[in-house]
C-alpha cells in the first residue's frame, strides 16, 4: 500500500510574542491576536528548515533508500538553481534521484505530497521525501507579520510498511488574488482581509472537503482528525460547523504557538495529528492557497513503530523568547546594521569549488580510513592518524547525523556578527573525528566543555553582490 512511512518537523528555537510585536508597532494601530510566532534565527531560511525537518523524518531511514525529494515553499532563496537539489545534497541523498520545487502558493505543500504519492503509485520512484518549509519575509507593521510563523514539515512517502495509507484526493484551483509577490519583489501584497476570508478561505476549504467526501462517498464524521490551516480562528471553526464536523475532530492550527507557516502549515498539522494517531484513525487534510488540495489517510498498526521524532510537539516545547523586535529586524536584514568594516568583507563563492567539494561543504561528509578506522573531516586522502598515514584508503563518512561534544569554545565579540558574540569551537564527534565549527542556537553562558552537540545545516552568508546564498553546517546544543 502507498502511503506515509515516516514524518518529521522543524520549528526554530526563537518565539516572538505578539505583545513584543505590538509594543514595537502599536503606533501603526495594529492589534494582533494573543499568541506567539516561531521566528527563524538569523542563519536560517526555508532551505535550512527543510533540511532540519528532513533529518527528523529520515532518522532511522537509510538515506540510500530515498529516490526522490520534493520541496514545497513560497520563500525559496533561489529563483534559478533548484532549491530541492540543494536540500537533497545537504541531506546527503544519492544523485540518482528525482528532485522538484513546488512553489508559488501556500497549497504547494499538499500538492508536493500528493505528487509524491502519485509518483510512488505510478512506480517511477519508490521512496520520496517531501519537505515543506516557509520562512516568509513580511513588511514591518503588516498584518502578515503577526500571522506568519516559520517552520517546516517532512513526510516520507513509499509503498509498503506505511504508517498511514493514502486513500484518496480531490483538488480545486482558482486564480485567487488574495496575496501576490511579483518576481524581484521582497514583500507580499495582500488584498482586504475580509475578501480573503469570505471569498476564499471559507469557500475553498469547504468546497475541496465536500468534493472529497462526495467523490469517495464519505461522511465528515468518518474522520478522527480533520486538518486544515487556520488563517482566521473564528472562521476555522465555522467551516467545520457548516461541514457538520464536531469541534473535537479539528486538529489544532498551531496559529497561536507557531503561526501560519504557509506551504508547511497543513503538513505540520498533519504531522502533529500523526503524533497522536491510533491505528484505524482516518485523517483528512486540506490546504488553502489559490484553491486547495484535500487528501485522506488511514493510520495503520505501523504507527506504533515510529521511532523517536521531535516532530511538532517537542519542537513547540523547546523554545526561547526573542524579546527584542529590533533584533528580529536585524535577523531579517530589515534594518541595516553596522557590523564595522570587518563585516564588509564579503566571500565570493567559487561555484566550481563549491560543486567539487559539495560532499564536504553541503553534505558534511568526510572520510573514514579503511586501514585504521579513523573518521576525519573534511575528506582526507592521507590518513590523519599519525600511526597510520595510509594513502587513498578512504571511504565516505557522513558526520551530519553524528552527535558530538564541545572540546573547546569561545564567544567572540570581535568577529562581525548580527548576533554577537559569535560562538564557535572544536567538536569531538562520537565515534571519532574532530573539527571546528560555528555554533548556533545557544547562549554563551550555557556552553561548556563536554556539552553534547548535534550538527545543523545553516545559511552561512548572503552575498548580495553575486546573489549567492551560502550554506554550511554548524554545531548546536541537542534540541530535545
Amino acid at each position: 500500500m502507498v502511503g506515509i512511512k515516516s514524518y518529521g518537523a522543524y520549528i526554530p528555537r526563537y518565539r516572538m510574542n505578539h505583545n513584543t510585536l505590538f509594543m514595537a508597532i502599536a503606533f501603526l494601530g495594529s492589534f494582533p491576536a494573543p499568541g506567539e510566532n516561531a521566528v527563524a534565527n538569523h542563519d536560517e531560511d526555508a532551505l535550512t528548515m527543510a533540511v532540519a525537518a528532513g533529518i527528523d523524518c529520515l532518522s532511522g531511514v537509510k538515506r540510500e533508500m530515498v529516490d526522490g525529494l520534493y520541496l514545497a515553499t513560497t520563500s525559496q532563496p533561489y529563483m534559478v538553481r533548484q532549491n530541492s537539489a540543494l536540500v537533497a545534497t545537504a541531506l546527503d541523498l544519492q544523485s540518482s534521484i528525482r528532485t522538484a520545487d513546488f512553489i508559488g502558493s501556500a497549497k504547494s505543500g499538499t500538492t508536493a505530497l500528493l505528487s509524491a504519492l502519485d509518483t510512488v503509485k505510478g512506480e517511477t520512484s519508490s521512496n520520496i521525501v517531501v519537505c515543506a518549509s516557509d520562512c516568509r519575509l513580511s513588511k514591518p507593521g503588516s498584518p502578515q507579520e503577526s500571522l506568519y510563523g516559520d517552520g517546516a514539515a517532512s513526510l516520507f512517502v513509499g509503498n509498503g510498511d506505511v504508517i498511514a495509507t493514502f486513500e484518496g484526493a480531490y483538488s480545486v484551483s482558482y486564480d485567487f488574488p488574495d496575496r501576490w509577490r511579483a518576481s524581484g519583489e521582497k514583500f507580499e501584497h495582500a488584498w482586504e482581509d475580509r475578501f480573503i476570508r469570505d471569498s476564499g478561505y471559507s469557500q475553498f476549504i469547504a468546497e475541496v472537503i465536500s468534493g472529497l467526501l462526495k467523490k469517495y462517498k464519505l461522511n465528515i464524521k468518518d474522520f478522527a482528525k480533520i486538518v486544515y490551516p487556520g488563517l482566521y480562528a473564528r472562521e476555522h471553526g465555522a467551516i467545520a460547523k457548516r461541514l457538520g464536523a464536531d469541534p473535537a475532530q479539528l486538529q489544532d492550527t498551531l496559529l497561536s504557538t507557531v503561526g501560519d507557516t504557509g506551504s508547511a502549515s497543513p503538513l505540520m498539522m498533519l504531522v502533529a495529528a500523526l503524533e497522536d494517531a491510533k491505528p484505524g484513525d482516518r485523517i483528512l487534510i486540506a490546504s488553502f492557497g489559490n484553491g486547495g488540495d484535500a487528501m485522506f489517510f488511514q493510520v495503520t498498526e505501523k504507527i506504533k513503530d515510529v521511532g523517536n521524532k521531535r516532530a511538532v510537539k517537542k519542537h513547540i516545547a523547546s523554545k526561547k523568547d526573542l524579546a527584542s523586535y529590533e533584533k528580529y529586524l536585524a535577523f531579517r536584514n530589515l534594518a541595516p546594521m553596522d557590523l564595522g568594516m570587518r563585516g564588509e568583507i564579503s566571500i565570493k563563492t567559487p561555484m566550481s569549488a563549491l560543486f567539487r567539494e559539495r560532499k564536504v561543504i553541503l553534505s558534511l561528509c568526510g572520510s573514514k580510513c579503511k586501514k585504521c578506522g579513523t573518521p576525519q573531516y573534511p575528506y582526507q586522502r592521507v590518513c590523519v592518524n599519525p600511526d597510520c598515514g595510509a594513502i587513498d584508503q578512504m571511504e565516505d563518512y557522513r558526520f551530519s547525523d553524528k552527535k558530538g561534544v564541545v572540546f573547546t569554545y569561545t564567544g567572540d565579540n570581535l568577529a562581525a556578527s548580527i548576533d554577537p558574540p559569535s560562538i564557535y569551537g572544536l567538536v569531538d564527534f562520537d565515534g571519532g573525528g574532530r573539527f571546528w565549527f560555528d555554533f548556533s542556537d545557544c547562549d554563551l553562558d550555557s556552553v561548556k566543555v563536554g556539552m553534547p552537540v548535534e550538527m545543523t545545516f545553516r545559511r552561512r552568508y548572503v552575498d548580495e553582490s553575486s546573489g549567492v546564498h551560502g550554506y554550511s553546517w554548524k554545531a548546536a546544543p541537542i534540541r530535545a
Binding site: 564595522g340 568594516m341 570587518r342 568583507i345 566571500i347 563563492t349 567559487p350 569549488a353 563549491l354 567539494e357 564536504v360 561543504i361 579513523t374 576525519q376 573531516y377 573534511p378 582526507q380 590523519v384 592518524n385 599519525p386 572540546f407 573547546t408 569554545y409 569561545t410 564567544g411 567572540d412 565579540n413 570581535l414 568577529a415 562581525a416 556578527s417 558574540p421 559569535s422 564557535y424 569551537g425 572544536l426 569531538d428 571519532g432 573525528g433 574532530r434 573539527f435 571546528w436 565549527f437 560555528d438 554563551l444 566543555v449 563536554g450 552561512r460 551560502g470 554550511s472 553546517w473
Partner: protein, 400 residues
C-alpha cells in the same frame, strides 16, 4: 645526521623601527628606517650585500606581491631578493633564508628584512580567519578571529588543569602586567603604559575568556638583520652574535582532525623546541636559556609556550608566573622588550624584532641601562602563526 646551523652564521648588524600606529609612515618608509639603522650598525655599505630575503604577510593591503617593493624601496642593485610568507613566522623565515644563504657559501653577506603595515585596514585586529585559509576553508571553517582562536586555547587550558575562570584570568593577567611593565620602559614599544591586574581582569571581553589586555596590540613596524659566515664576522665587529639554532614545525592536521591532542598546549612549539635544543646543544632549557622573546599574541599563548618550551613543567606555569620567574628581574626573563603585547604584531616584522632584542641584550647594548639583562648567554625567539590547532612555529636561538 645533519650538522645543523650552530655557530655557522653570525649577525653583524640589526635595525628595528619604533612600532605603533604609524599613520604617517608607509611600508616603504618602515623598510628604509629599519635598513638604515641596520647597515649603520653593521658598518657596511649597500653594495656589500649579496642577497636579500624579504618577509611580509598581508601583502594585499601594503606592498603587493613578490619582492620588488623591497628592492625598489632600498634601491638594491640588481641582487637576488626573495619574498617569504609563513604566517606569523614570516620574519623568522626571512632570517632563516638569509642564514642558510650565507651558511651554504652561496653568499658572503645577506639581508633579512620584515615589514608589515597593518593600520591601513580601517578596523582593529587582523583581517578575518577563514578568508585567509583557502577556498575550502573559507566555506567550512568557523568565522573566527585571532583572539577567538586563542581564547579556545584558554578555555581548554582552564578545563584540563581545573582552573576556575577567575583563577585562569588572574594567572593570565600577571603575564600582561609583566609585559606592560617592560614595554613601558622601551622607547620603541607601541604601548608604553603599566597596567594593574585589576584593570586587566575588569577590561572588556574580546573573546571569552580573553579581555582587551590579554590581546597584543595591532601595529606597523619593520626590523632587519645583516648576516655573514661566522668565520668572517670579526672583520665587521668585535661582538657579532651567533646563530645557535633555527627550527620550524608545522601542524600535521593531528591537532584539528584527530582526537589525541589535549587542546591545552601547542604541539608545534614543543616539537620545534626539541629540535632547536638539539641543534643548539641545550640539555636543560629551563636553566640554559637566559631569556626569551616568545609569541605572546595573547596572554594564554605566552603561558602555554612556557610549558611547550620546557621552561615550566606541564600544567605548572601558574606557579612560575606567580613566582615572577619570567619578570625582568626574574631568573628567566621573557618579553624583556615588552613582547607582542606592547610592540603589537606587524606580522612580517615580529620575528626579527624579537631577534633584535636578543641581539642587543647579548651585546649589552640596550638603549636604557635599566633594561639590560645581566650576562645573558643564550636568547630564544619564538613565533606561532595560525591557530592553536593548525599552525606554524619558528624558533631561533642566538648567543655570543
Amino acid at each position: 645526521m645533519a650538522e645543523g646551523i650552530k655557530d655557522k652564521v653570525a649577525i653583524i648588524g640589526m635595525g628595528c623601527t619604533k612600532f605603533g600606529e604609524l599613520w604617517d609612515k608607509s611600508a616603504e618608509d618602515l623598510m628604509v628606517d629599519a635598513f638604515k639603522e641596520c647597515i649603520e650598525d653593521a658598518g657596511i655599505e649597500k653594495k656589500d650585500i649579496n642577497s636579500a630575503w624579504f618577509g611580509v604577510h598581508f601583502e594585499e593591503q601594503s606592498v603587493g606581491k613578490g619582492a620588488t617593493s623591497l628592492a625598489l624601496a632600498l634601491k638594491l642593485p640588481f641582487i637576488p631578493v626573495t619574498r617569504v610568507e609563513n604566517f606569523c613566522a614570516t620574519a623568522t623565515e626571512a632570517f632563516r633564508g638569509a642564514c642558510y644563504g650565507v651558511a651554504s657559501g652561496a653568499y658572503d653577506i645577506a639581508l633579512a628584512l620584515g615589514v608589515e603595515k597593518l593600520k591601513d585596514t580601517g578596523y582593529g585586529g587582523l583581517p578575518g580567519g577563514p578568508s585567509l585559509m583557502g577556498t575550502k576553508n573559507a566555506l567550512i571553517m568557523p568565522k573566527l578571529t585571532a583572539p577567538g582562536a586563542f581564547a579556545m586555547l584558554a578555555t581548554r587550558y582552564f578545563a584540563v588543569y581545573g582552573l576556575k575562570p577567575e583563577e585562569g584570568k588572574r594567572m593570565l593577567a600577571k603575564v600582561s602586567v609583566k609585559s606592560h611593565y617592560n614595554g613601558a620602559r622601551n622607547p620603541k614599544a607601541h604601548l608604553r603604559r603599566e597596567v594593574t591586574e585589576e584593570q586587566i581582569i575588569n577590561a572588556p571581553i574580546i573573546a571569552w575568556p580573553l579581555g582587551l589586555f590579554d590581546c597584543c596590540g595591532v601595529s606597523d613596524g619593520a626590523a632587519a638583520a645583516i648576516v655573514t659566515r661566522a668565520d668572517m664576522a670579526k672583520k665587521f665587529r668585535p661582538d657579532p652574535i651567533h646563530v645557535k639554532a633555527l627550527q620550524v614545525a608545522l601542524s600535521s592536521g593531528e591537532e584539528l582532525m584527530y582526537t589525541k591532542w589535549d587542546g591545552a598546549h601547542v604541539e608545534t612549539t614543543y616539537r620545534a623546541g626539541k629540535l632547536a635544543y638539539k641543534e643548539a646543544g641545550v640539555k636543560n632549557p629551563r636553566e640554559e636559556i637566559s631569556m626569551a622573546e616568545v609569541h605572546d599574541c595573547f596572554s594564554i599563548t605566552e603561558a602555554v609556550t612556557m610549558e611547550d618550551l620546557q621552561f615550566s613543567p606541564r600544567g605548572k606555569v601558574k606557579e612560575d608566573i606567580e613566582a615572577g620567574r619570567f619578570n625582568h628581574d626574574g631568573p628567566q626573563p621573557v618579553q624583556p622588550d615588552g613582547g607582542l603585547k606592547c610592540f603589537g604584531h606587524p606580522i612580517g616584522a615580529s620575528g626579527l624584532r624579537m631577534i633584535y632584542e636578543m641581539y642587543k641584550q647579548l651585546q649589552g647594548k640596550v638603549q636604557l641601562p635599566e633594561r639590560q639583562i645581566k650576562n645573558p648567554k643564550l636568547g630564544l625567539t619564538h613565533n606561532l602563526g595560525g591557530f592553536p590547532p593548525m599552525n606554524i612555529v619558528s624558533i631561533a636561538i642566538v648567543g655570543s
